[in-house]
Symmetry: C2
Subunit: 232 residues, 2 copies
């Protein structure tokens, strides 16, 4: 373990590690959710910081098995929102769900948002990626999906501003696939996986993990990305 890590495993829910941190700025503070991995399974924890020195722990916000939580940067209809990805149990497919919260800690009113397909690039699993971004035509999300050979690609969808459980449009084919040498080979080959995206001056900047080994950056105009979407 990195001795200089900012967030280290401390609780019994983190004995195997803290992973896939996603940062969302909300109301002047930074909320960092992460996968809390232990013998009890994979849950999602939340900490809050203003300076990235100290932080306040908010405990486990989603019990096992649930990860890929992506917090919205602002309230919608008075409530905080997030996408999350429960793990299927005895049956059911991997799916992204929406839920709402009065305090970012306690979540409910869970609704299904998006599922992978039976075949193809998103038939293995799907899950939230970067925190959603407010764009003119809707909430923009870049998410990940894997096929049954565990090749991880990225897709995008646009959800209603008023009700982000409603997908307005989505890409049917992956927008980003492992191609570069550092994406197709490494600790976990054939993986591109994002936890953070920015939209500045019409340019999407996609920060992503490549083969679970390095962090890389890709850029595209928002208009190009939207052009790849079809109505849902």
């Amino acid at each position: 373990m990195d001795d200089r890590a900012w967030l280290k495993p401390e609780t019994s829910y983190e004995s195997y590690g803290v992973e896939d941190a996603r940062i969302t700025a909300i109301d002047g503070a930074y909320f960092v959710n992460y996968s809390a991995v232990s013998e009890h399974g994979i849950a999602t924890g939340l900490v809050e910081t203003v300076d990235f020195r100290s932080y306040t722990r908010h405990g486990i916000i989603f019990p096992p098995s649930n990860r890929d939580v992506a917090l919205f940067p602002q309230r919608v209809n008075g409530l905080y929102l997030c996408y999350h990805r429960p793990m299927p149990g005895e049956f059911g497919r991997y799916s992204i769900w929406l839920s709402s919260s009065p305090d970012l800690v306690r979540w409910g009113d869970h609704r299904l948002v998006l599922q992978g397909s039976e075949m193809g690039w998103d038939s293995g699993r799907v899950g939230g990626g970067a925190p959603p971004i407010w764009a003119e035509h809707g909430w923009l999300s870049i998410y990940h999906a894997a096929d049954r050979q565990q090749r991880y690609c990225l897709g995008a969808f646009l959800a209603s501003h008023a009700d982000p459980a409603q997908v307005i449009a989505r890409t049917r084919e992956p927008i980003f696939i492992p191609e570069a040498l550092y994406e197709v080979s490494g600790f976990f080959p054939n993986v591109v996986f994002t936890c953070g995206v920015t939209l500045v001056d019409g340019i999407i900047r996609l920060y992503y993990g490549a083969a679970d080994d390095s962090i890389a950056l890709a850029e595209a105009p928002l208009t190009s990305l939207l052009g790849l979407m079809t109505a849902s």
Copy 2:
């Protein structure tokens, strides 16, 4: 489907059925949580009623895979509480968790309460049973557990009044096992499973499903039940 059923499948989360209803009286209303079963998995839904004629839906309070929710009949430290039983994902054992809520709809601060053992009567799975009962020495819960041959028995534990994530004492052996003909044979043989228990004048009355076929009643003095527990 029973045409006279009080609660019928209505939403896309209930297409396979609504099961295992548990009723808790809180603040003058009745809250009924149930397993909402569909192609999306097994989730937990909540409705509220005052007269058992009409009801108000509160949606999905725990996303798949999560069932065996048992609501506490009163707030503790200002928050509503429940036990719930997330389904293990890629790893982790069946366990009962506690969480808290400001409104009975949105739940968080999930903490592990109780796990089954590696061997024996509770090595297959465990889960909440009846809503917890306030007893003099702690919150009393009757819960179910199954062994790896899917024989379902009942156990009991006592949790701290101030923090019901802390188990004070529990039974190590089952307190109730399938023995009668209607328990060992039926739709799902070798099952006793409770969703409701009362404590009146020192007598525990255990209403339980037998072999997923019929409803039966067993009674015992509370003192006898407590006598079977050992400190946790």
